[in-house]
Symmetry: C2
Subunit: 352 residues, 2 copies
């Protein structure tokens, strides 16, 4: 009730912000009808629908997202959780996700998961995340199956990129094959001491992709009757600087490698840089193969394994959006083929 009769009877309201009631009034129908008409629900006479839509357009009416979220329980937004936002791989994934989401009328909220603490908060809902988004795509941020099951139980829709999951759909590549492909290439060229630049030195659980690639690396060795030397496995953190440092270490070895399998092009770039500074001839004295087919690899003539990362993001988003209507989508796996792109940084070792 308004006690101060006649004084500012209407609440302070931003001008131009038409509500559903305004539209209803202007169209001479009830708010329920407006809601139906606008969202394309059935049981609305065509003439009515038309009129309502016209009026809504005139008033440039848009349903308040918060209000409809409150009423429906859906936020029309999805989240994309990535360890780091800059960095070639992740920004491409995000780009793919965003494109699809925007197209579908969903907002894309980015969630940086750089620390273990952020990772925990996210999964344990300390963060209240699943009130803010309808679904989540995890990009190479990995959780135990138990944790994921927990999410599923709370009705959060998830798609993972990179790591595969037994509880949620996922898209990625065959990382074992990646490791095998790269290593095989090197072995075929005649290399016997092949170093590998891997990811973070953390709990394997948090990032299994390097492990899979390492597995492929191992398989290639085994198949060729070669033994792997643990000393040749160095952490490069998937960064240029990390790759640089890693190779620096490797070259200090008594018996340094003749070839390097870098699990990302960025690490390979770092490796190349160090080689240049040290005046090491690539590929004569050191062969280098990367993974990603970064747009700059062609520039440095890097042999690498191609994958279409932006497409991974797009496909993941599509899967997620499609799955939103189903209560528990099957944990399908979408696996993109990968292939080796041979360029100039790999060749036979000098002393073959």
């Amino acid at each position: 009730m308004n006690w101060v009769t006649g004084l500012q009877p209407q609440p302070i309201r931003r001008p131009g912000r038409a509500t559903i009631e305004d539209v209803a009034a202007a169209a001479g129908v009830s708010v329920a009808t407006v809601s139906r008409a606008i969202r394309g629900l059935p049981n609305v006479a065509n003439s009515t629908r038309e009129r309502v839509q016209r009026v809504a357009a005139e008033l440039s009416y848009r349903a308040d997202p918060a209000a409809s979220r409150l009423a429906t329980g859906r936020s029309q937004a999805i989240g994309v959780a990535v360890p780091v936002l800059n960095g070639w791989y992740f920004s491409n994934v995000v780009a793919g996700v965003e494109a699809v989401c925007t197209e579908a009328g969903y907002d894309t909220v980015v969630l940086g998961i750089s620390s273990a603490e952020q990772r925990t908060r996210l999964i344990h809902d300390t963060d209240g995340i699943h009130r803010r988004i309808d679904g989540l795509v995890f990009v190479d941020v990995s959780y135990s199956e138990d944790e994921l099951t927990g999410l599923a139980d709370r009705h959060l829709h998830v798609v993972t990129i990179g790591v595969r999951s037994s509880v949620f759909p996922s898209v990625g590549i065959d990382d074992v094959e990646v490791g095998r492909l790269a290593t095989d290439h090197l072995i075929e060229l005649g290399h016997r001491r092949i170093a590998v630049l891997t990811g973070l030195a953390e709990d394997p659980l948090t990032f299994p992709v390097p492990l899979r690639r390492l597995e492929g690396y191992g398989i290639a060795h085994r198949d060729a009757g070669l033994a792997v030397d643990p000393a040749l496995e160095v952490v490069g953190n998937f960064s240029v600087a990390g790759g640089y440092e890693a190779v620096n270490e490797l070259l200090a070895l008594d018996d340094p490698p003749t070839a390097i399998f870098a699990m990302s092009d960025e690490m390979a770039f770092g490796a190349i840089q160090l080689a240049r500074e040290r005046r090491i001839d690539v590929p004569r004295d050191l062969s280098i193969v990367g993974v990603d087919d970064h747009e700059l690899s062609v520039m440095v003539d890097l042999t690498t394994i191609h994958q279409d990362v932006e497409d991974h993001g797009a496909r993941a988003a599509r899967m997620l959006l499609d799955g939103l209507s189903i209560d528990r989508p099957a944990p399908t796996r979408l696996e993109d083929p990968v292939h080796l792109v041979v360029r100039g940084t790999t060749g036979p070792p000098r002393a073959t």
Copy 2:
């Protein structure tokens, strides 16, 4: 009404989702007190606040963001609008923004503004954006002052990165100085025919940064008593491929340049690549200077102009968040100093 008496009498409610009423009941207080206690508002006895917070924690209660958004009108989310999401510059900006926002408890929603249509939709509220976010940072997506004023009138808080604005705060660098610095460096080395790789060939309004840098390029020439040759201004679209193509064109000229000022490192990378393929000696036959100080520039030994992009994003976010409480923040300009980093891709021209 539930017709099947006795069956599932309570509404379908996700388990574990405590509401403010649950907390109130459990703590033996009213919902208003819970609200106050949890948000740290005054007028709550310490003992009460403690108890409420404890109970809330036990029930792992979190205010439903949609509900509070509806009640308060604030969404606790900010948007960051970028032309493209992959690409070194933009992903770094977004990373900076996200870090600050997350820290402050705000969600970061990314908005790709690749098409003119998306640009229009966003600004004209066809998108309903300002119901979804409290503030917006525009990253090198430029609008007329009129359009921006329109946004301000609708109480949308904005900070721009790159382009400066007379209506909203902005952070960036002195782009005229960037152009001058790069060009001067080349002129001092003795170059007289200096090409410039610019941005999009679109409406200047949509992207003034290249224009400012071009201005600096012009000033440097004028100060040195040199004339600029329009034929040496080529569009490179700020991409590696664009830079490659642009230089390809330049070299076809009757009187090709001896030096190139690329407005981004990525274009410079493309230029370097082409030079390599053509066996053009850099810097002997072609000097190249970029802008950004991309982490890979050191790798290709690129002379460039350094700027801290991630920091731009962080500062913009901070300004935006700080300004949220003020009705119309002053259009301050935060300008980061830039400096030339001389590396190996620039040197005196052969025929000095």
